[in-house]
């Protein structure tokens, strides 16, 4: 459903992601844990391109949302001048040369010749998709809720479906009331977000994303900004959503929740995925020292 291929992310001179890959299948509930600053949120935000990866590709189904990364395409590397020159001068096998070019980062966009450029362009044209269309299929929930402060709860929920899915006002509002009913906040439809508690805001933020009928939901530490007594009500909504079959990726510090809901757990540290396992297996038997150390601190 979402496939992340070898992404790197630099913020200035700081490398936050160092070659992260992940395939997310329909129905999976992926939980991502790790110490702060490990790149979990950045990784999640790369999935809907709120952060543009510096290198690597992100695919949503068959749609490419990043530029082509030549190193991920052997045929592109083989079309490059660098490859041709090396082949003529060294006589090594194609595989060895491709590996060498990848490893030593030998491609230079500007000097790789017409065949290379043409192939890059063709690939891009064939697969690239408007990010705004792709984002309509991916719901996102933020740590800081980010409800639109200038709109009522109802308008928060109906804005995108009306604007992007061509729904009529009545249709969109009917669906919004239905969703609000589900989380028990129907009576808040006409108030502004600033009058709500954190837990209420976050539940409405979830509902706002659901109103677009997304195929997958991304949660970026959805309970980290909440008072402790409100964490439960938000987690309950997410759990219910998980049980209804929604595909989701959740960055979280709630270990109990990760264990209960996740079908696969990613443990990240220093911009890399260090472990990937079913949550039960990970908590019972972490393999890396880093994970053991982390768990000993949080559990």
């Amino acid at each position: 459903m979402i496939s992340v291929k070898n992404i790197y992310k630099d913020f200035g001179s700081l490398r936050v992601l160092k070659g992260v890959s992940c395939e997310i299948e329909k129905g999976e509930k992926i939980v991502i844990i790790g110490p702060s600053g490990s790149g979990k949120s950045t990784f999640l935000r790369c999935m809907n391109l709120l952060e543009a990866p510096t290198y690597g590709e992100v695919w949503v189904d068959d749609d490419l949302v990043t530029p082509i990364d030549p190193y991920l395409h052997p045929d592109v590397i083989m079309a490059s001048n660098t490859f041709q020159k090396l082949k003529a001068s060294t006589g090594e096998t194609d595989e060895a040369l491709i590996a060498k070019i990848k490893k030593e980062d030998l491609l230079h966009e500007k000097h790789e010749g017409a065949a290379y450029k043409k192939l890059m362009k063709t690939l891009y044209k064939e697969h690239a998709m408007d990010i705004n269309l792709v984002r309509q299929r991916i719901g996102m929930v933020f740590q800081q809720f980010n409800l639109f402060a200038n709109l009522t709860v109802l308008d928060n929920i109906t804005l995108a479906p009306m604007k992007l899915k061509g729904k009529s006002k009545t249709e969109a509002e009917e669906r919004a009331y239905q969703l609000l009913e589900r989380i028990g906040l129907r009576d808040k439809a006409n108030v502004y977000p600033s009058t709500l508690s954190g837990g209420q805001k976050q539940r409405i933020a979830i509902v706002r994303a659901l109103a677009m009928d997304p195929e997958i939901m991304l949660f970026d530490e959805p309970t980290s900004a909440l008072d402790p007594e409100m964490v439960g009500e938000v987690l309950d909504v997410i759990k219910e959503l998980a049980h209804s079959g929604m595909t989701m990726v959740v960055v979280t510090h709630e270990m109990g929740f990760a264990r209960e809901v996740g079908t696969r757990l990613l443990f990240m540290d220093e911009g890399q995925i260090l472990e990937e396992a079913p949550p039960a297996a990970f908590f019972a038997n972490p393999k890396t020292d880093r994970a053991k150390e982390f768990l000993s601190k949080v559990l």
Partner: protein, 234 residues
């Protein structure tokens, strides 16, 4: 000449000889120039502000950003009188366009105000939490829709008092439009003064009208602010 004599002279000019018509025209022009100028200014200023805060990813945005910077530098760096004179006496003949002096004033006031409003609006846009933009974009809304529906409305609320100041500045600045022959409050009262060789009462009256205008506007802004605040009662 005592004050009563001055007052009666003014009274005669104003109401018996009909100078009040000129004053009314002046008042009307002052309001037209300031209001339309501000409207044009807000439109231009918002566009420029958006261009200036957008991440500079493509060449078009970079070029527009440069143009915007030059525009702002020119209109903030020269006095409005100079802009008015250049517009009316240099550009109009040069481009062979026929426009009334009032129309030229509205345009120049709008362009000038655009430069100032762009800076006000830019700080307003930057004051809106980046999370608002991210939430809009994450739903699939385009940059333009996110700006128009989410960010700009919140920015406007934050900068309303400053925009009010800009409006007050424009009202008072209209007193220069007689340089290009447009009738405004200043020229109307100056006319009465010149006719009688007596300027005290006309000029005091002029100041009085300006101050009433400005206080009225300040009051309106306060009311608007209170209305807009209704959304964020805690």
């Amino acid at each position: 000449m005592n004050f009563n004599a001055k007052l009666s002279k003014f009274w005669v000019s104003m109401f018996e000889k009909g100078a009040y018509r000129r004053v009314l025209t002046g008042l009307k022009n002052t309001v037209i120039i300031a209001v339309l100028g501000l409207v044009i200014g807000i439109v231009i200023g918002t566009l420029i502000a958006v261009i200036r805060v957008v991440p500079k990813t493509n060449k078009l945005v970079k070029a527009l950003d440069k143009i915007a910077a030059v525009y702002v530098a020119f209109f903030r760096g020269t006095p409005m009188v100079a802009q008015l004179l250049i517009g009316y006496f240099v550009l109009l003949p040069l481009l062979n366009i026929k426009l009334s002096s009032l129309a030229v004033c509205v345009l120049i006031f709008g362009l000038n105000s655009g430069a100032y409003v762009s800076e006000i609006m830019r700080s307003g846009l930057l004051s809106v939490d980046i999370g608002q933009t991210e939430a809009g974009r994450a739903l699939g809304l385009s940059f333009a829709s996110t700006m128009m529906r989410i960010v700009v409305p919140q920015a406007v609320k934050n900068i309303l008092p400053t925009i009010g100041n800009e409006f007050i500045t424009l009202i008072k600045e209209t007193s220069i439009v007689s340089f290009v022959g447009a009738v405004d409050l200043y020229s109307a009262f100056n006319y009465i003064g010149s006719a009688n060789y007596e300027f005290m009462v006309p000029y005091l009256s002029m100041a009085l009208i300006y101050i009433v205008l400005v206080l009225g506007i300040s009051g309106l802004i306060k009311i608007m602010e209170r209305r807009l605040r209704a959304g964020d009662k805690r």
